[in-house]
């Protein structure tokens, strides 16, 4: 059973983040190594396997915005830091979202610094799935600097989506910054389009951020959100 079907069977309209990663992986969309830990012990052994630095994110169906309840700790360098982070998340969630049932934690390899992109999707009755591409951050919203295409999106369409946004120059190397792995970004868009056309229940999706590394080093979806609807 796919994660989408499972979530729907459980009456959920949102995928857990580890489910979102599982879905992305099924379509060969690069995500950092991750695993789900039920307790601190599991967290430590997972992190040993994945390799530091890692991020920890709380998993709970009652929590919509993890950051708001202190459910996320980034850039953990070692075991000691991991144990402290787990404790901190537990305390913070208990205080700020006492109603939340914590199912565990997502341990995720930290992706090196790069340019943050947003690749998202909406479903519209008339248009079907539409994919949006833009740079992450508030300026994208302010200037509405996004490009959109209808699913299915072919490789050429995806290249045009990149070139169309004003912020494109930041990706090709601007004022001494290195050029980014554009092929990897195009690849994410094309695969994401396939994911959407094969999963019509998806109503909205945010891959935000997608981190574009330097040329040849890839692009990774670091955070993903899928909202489901009736079909």
């Amino acid at each position: 059973m796919s994660v989408v079907d499972r979530a729907k069977a459980e009456g959920r309209t949102k995928l857990h983040e580890h489910e979102a990663f599982e879905l992305l992986r099924r379509y060969s969309i690069p995500v950092p190594d991750y695993g789900v830990a039920k307790d601190e012990e599991e967290a430590v052994s997972l992190a040993d396997k994945i390799g530091y630095p890692v991020a920890v994110k709380v998993i709970s169906r009652q929590i919509v915005h993890k950051t708001d309840v202190g459910g996320v700790v980034l850039g953990i360098a070692d075991r000691g830091g991991l144990v402290a982070a787990c404790n901190k998340i537990r305390e913070s969630v208990k205080a700020r979202a006492p109603y939340a049932e914590v199912e565990g934690c997502l341990i995720q390899k930290m992706v090196p610094q790069g340019i943050e992109l947003i690749i998202g999707a909406v479903y519209d009755d008339v248009f079907g799935h539409v994919v949006a591409f833009g740079l992450g951050g508030v300026l994208t919203e302010l200037y509405r600097d996004v490009s959109m295409r209808l699913v299915p999106i072919e490789e050429e369409d995806a290249w045009e989506m990149l070139r169309e946004v004003k912020a494109y120059r930041l990706l090709t190397g601007y004022r001494g910054t290195p050029p980014r792995d554009l092929h990897a970004v195009v690849d994410v868009i094309v695969k994401f389009s396939r994911l959407l056309s094969e999963n019509p229940a998806i109503r909205e999706a945010d891959l935000n951020p997608v981190i574009a590394l330097e040329e040849g080093k890839g692009a990774y979806v670091v955070d993903a959100r899928f909202l489901l609807g009736g079909d």
Partner: protein
């Protein structure tokens, strides 16, 4: 539906028409369409209205039939202008007679809350194999054969001459004003179709129809918003095919409003409906116009000019100021305005006035003669250095004559796009403009509009894949 060309020919290019709701009462809808048909339709028209037998209109004795079934000959299309409640009955009768298409002018359907009545039309059309245009529409204007269901009198809403353009318009009022505007400017807008509520025939099939009509060189589309599930994708798939044969220019009205849906994600907040249409146009290879005037500025160039193989523009002017404006616009649109090669510059120096500027723009100055334009065009346009030309001819200067038009027309043999900027209102300017336009050289009153026209040509050249790598 299968082969839409077959399906829509009786609707758009019929040889026989029955007008149901024809009326001898002037200023009524049924009268204006009747008048259109007797004045201009080059086919057979039948008039149906049980209230009349024979009436003299405009010096002609017209027979009125009681019903469609009474008409002795076959009929391609029935134009229906009767009250909404009676329309299904008329449509059924038309179907039984074997009529292939219906234009339903009448309003009072889904737009007035009567969705069931509209569903009934759709079902009846399907059952009897009648393609339905409308309801609540202006219908069809076809300058080629004079089929004209536009119920606005010709003396108020002009009818444009036959030519290379077609218009698909979601709005009837906008379509009528475009027709009037085009008529006054002698713009060859041959066919206009307004589908109103779009119960059956819509943009997708009309695109397909115009794709196959060899007389149509450019398709213009005025859209406010699609309405049916999956319609955008069907439009995209059709348009992608059509643009391999001829350009489509679209203008989307209603850009501000965000999509009407619950927004929970970051992407949804960014995804206004206009952005979706813009994405759709780009994905399909449709050229997007900034406004209606822009649409026809571009259409004029696309209908007449060859496609450029690159984006390098020669700007030739007798006014430095106008030349600079042209360069500003061209560069802002992503076109190149390269310098002249030194070798050619040296040759030109001997042929032009000493104070001419031999950059790009080439400024032949206010002391220019016709000959100067000829020399520059011949030296530069047929070379590998330029793909197209923007020529500014301010005819107010004393050295220029009507003969310049001949030189510019002659330059068409270089098979590169040429657009002309020609500003002013004197008789000489008007006749100069007319000579150029008659010879299919598009003219514009300002450099920015001419630059947009070249941009459109370059866009379409890229879409067609003819731009040199």
């Amino acid at each position: 539906m299968s082969s839409s060309q077959e399906d829509l020919a009786p609707l758009i290019s019929p040889s026989s028409v029955a007008l149901v709701g024809a009326s001898p009462k002037q200023a009524s809808v049924g009268y204006v369409i009747l008048e259109n048909l007797i004045d201009r339709f080059r086919g057979t028209a039948y008039f149906v209205n049980p209230k009349y037998d024979e009436v003299e209109i405009k010096g002609r004795q017209l027979k009125f039939y009681k019903s469609i079934s009474e008409i002795p000959e076959p009929v391609d299309v029935v134009v229906i202008a009767v009250p909404a409640q009676v329309v299904p009955q008329v449509l059924e009768e038309a179907g039984k007679k074997g009529v292939k298409a219906a234009v339903i002018i009448s309003s009072g359907f889904a737009e007035a809350g009567n969705k069931e009545l509209e569903d009934e039309l759709r079902a009846l059309g399907r059952m009897h194999g009648v393609r339905v245009l409308g309801p609540n529409c202006l219908g069809v204007y076809n300058a080629f054969n004079g089929f004209d269901t536009v119920f606005l009198p010709a003396e108020r809403a002009g009818r444009p001459p036959a030519g290379p353009l077609a218009l698909i318009s979601q709005s009837g009022a906008v379509a009528a004003s475009i027709m009037d505007w085009a008529a006054r400017r002698n713009i060859g807008l041959s066919i206009m179709v307004n589908y109103g509520n779009k119960a059956d025939v819509g943009d997708v099939e009309l695109l397909r129809y115009f794709e196959r009509d060899e007389r149509i060189k450019v398709i213009t589309v005025y859209v406010e918003g699609f309405k049916y599930p999956g319609e955008a994708r069907r439009f995209l798939d059709a348009a992608r095919e059509v643009v391999k044969k001829k350009p489509i220019i679209a203008y989307k009205a209603g850009r501000g409003a965000a999509a009407q849906r619950a927004v929970r994600s970051h992407t949804a907040a960014l995804a206004g409906s206009y952005e979706m249409y813009r994405g759709l146009f780009r994905q399909a290879g449709i050229i997007e116009a900034a406004n209606l005037r822009d649409m026809f500025d571009m259409a004029k160039a696309l209908a007449t000019q060859p496609l450029p193989r690159g984006g390098r523009v020669l700007v030739l002017t007798d006014s430095g100021g106008m030349g600079i404006q042209a360069v500003d616009e061209l560069e802002a649109l992503g076109l190149e305005v390269p310098e002249l090669p030194e070798s050619i510059r040296r040759d030109l120096r001997g042929e032009l006035l000493p104070f001419s500027a031999l950059g790009n723009p080439v400024d032949v100055t206010g002391s220019a003669t016709d000959q100067h334009y000829k020399v520059v065009l011949e030296a530069l346009l047929p070379t590998a250095f330029f793909d197209m030309a923007l020529v500014i001819t301010l005819m107010q200067v004393p050295g220029l004559t009507q003969n310049l038009a001949e030189y510019l027309i002659d330059a068409r043999r270089f098979r590169k796009p040429i657009v002309v900027v020609n500003f002013g209102g004197s008789e000489m300017v008007q006749s100069f403009t007319k000579s150029l336009e008659d010879a299919e050289i598009p003219t514009y009153p300002t450099p920015d509009r001419a630059a947009r026209a070249l941009w459109a040509l370059y866009q379409y050249a890229k879409i067609r894949g003819v731009v040199r790598p």
